[in-house]
């Protein structure tokens, strides 16, 4: 895989675990939108041929030696992207839920606003996106909790369709939540007083496989994420000394 050659180089990062049914389609769709952007699939030790399918589709594949979970998988990709000198990384999930047509918009916001992270949001504008009642309740709760911590509202804190710039990339190479990373990642960035923006996107139903958050795991997810958020808040640095 080539090193980044310019200050605006973008890498598309696709974390994947047992996504053989969707991965080739996602790669081809990304290629259709951004023919020249390098695509890195991080295979989280899949057992269903995801690795071979991703390679056949023309992506470069970072293969983890054993299953690390979503956070460890994404962080591995961030570490490689940082080492290769990329200025921007946009994460697209390997299950086909994220429409690559929005990638240029995410990149544009990252480049033009100078914010550190951009989130593809289902709820930023009234774009007719609906979700289950349980999920809507969870998202509503996270919005409430995050509002005072982040100092501004975040409409879709569970979205994994995110782009980061090099400064955020550097932070994430050192500190990135391992399970259910999306929400905690926002707090990690807030600790550094980084800025984020949301961009309205439409999400699609996943093409294959199941969500990592099943009904049984929902309560565990809620408690885990809330605990993770508060632990990260405890790590906040004190007020900066006035110079």
């Amino acid at each position: 895989m080539r090193r980044a050659s310019g200050p605006n180089d973008l890498l598309i990062l696709i974390p994947a675990f047992n996504e053989s049914g969707a991965i080739a389609g996602v790669i081809n769709e990304v290629r259709g939108v951004l023919p020249d952007a390098p695509i890195l699939v991080v295979d989280d030790a899949s057992s269903d041929g995801t690795y071979d399918l991703a390679k056949s589709a023309g992506a470069r594949v970072l293969r983890l030696p054993h299953h690390l979970g979503l956070g460890g998988c994404v962080q591995a990709g961030y570490k490689l992207a940082f080492e290769l000198g990329y200025a921007y990384v946009i994460r697209v999930d390997g299950d086909g839920q994220h429409d690559p047509a929005y990638i240029p918009r995410l990149l544009e916001v990252l480049q033009q606003t100078g914010c550190h992270m951009v989130i593809g949001s289902r709820f930023y504008e009234q774009n007719g996106q609906h979700t289950s009642m349980a999920r809507a309740f969870g998202i509503g709760l996270f919005r409430l909790v995050l509002r005072p911590i982040l100092g501004k509202p975040v409409r879709d804190p569970t979205s994994g369709f995110v782009g980061v710039n090099r400064e955020a990339l550097q932070v994430f190479t050192g500190s990135f939540p391992l399970e259910y990373p999306e929400i905690e990642a926002l707090v990690v960035l807030q600790r550094k007083r980084f800025q984020f923006q949301e961009v309205s996107c439409r999400m699609r139903p996943r093409k294959t496989g199941r969500s990592t958050i099943t009904a049984v795991k929902s309560l565990y997810y809620l408690i885990h994420v809330l605990l993770g958020v508060f632990v990260n808040v405890l790590k906040f640095e004190g007020r900066r000394r006035k110079k």
Partner: protein
């Protein structure tokens, strides 16, 4: 009370022997055996020293000394489990970092081979 204390003595001796055997067979590393050996020695002393147990029960305001022993056993194992949670967390972090590093190094080697 005497029966409970005897049972505790036997339990602590069995624990001590089991840990020493495990260390000898390299099933437990020496540094992690220290917590268990310390805990079993502590319990052995408490179960054999009536004066110490009575004194602790008095300090805790307990009229029945064996209850103090049970509370102390609980506290000792709580400390040991806490210590091992810290160790496991460190190991998990190290394991994740190593797996990521291994994957990145393999990836870069593969890229170099393809370029040549």
């Amino acid at each position: 009370m005497e029966r409970l204390l005897n049972a505790m003595t036997i339990l602590s001796i069995v624990l001590m022997i089991a840990v020493l055997f495990s260390v000898r067979r390299s099933h437990i590393r020496v540094e992690y055996s220290v917590s268990w050996l310390g805990a079993s020695l502590f319990l052995l002393i408490l179960s054999r020293s009536h004066w110490t147990l009575n004194w602790i029960a008095e300090q805790l305001g307990l009229s029945y000394p064996p209850l103090a022993l049970i509370i102390l056993v609980f506290c000792v194992f709580l400390v040991v489990f806490y210590r091992f949670s810290v160790v496991i967390s460190d190991l998990k972090d190290a394991n994740i970092a190593m797996a990521q590093r291994l994957a990145i190094v393999e990836f870069q080697l593969q890229s170099q081979n393809e370029e040549q």
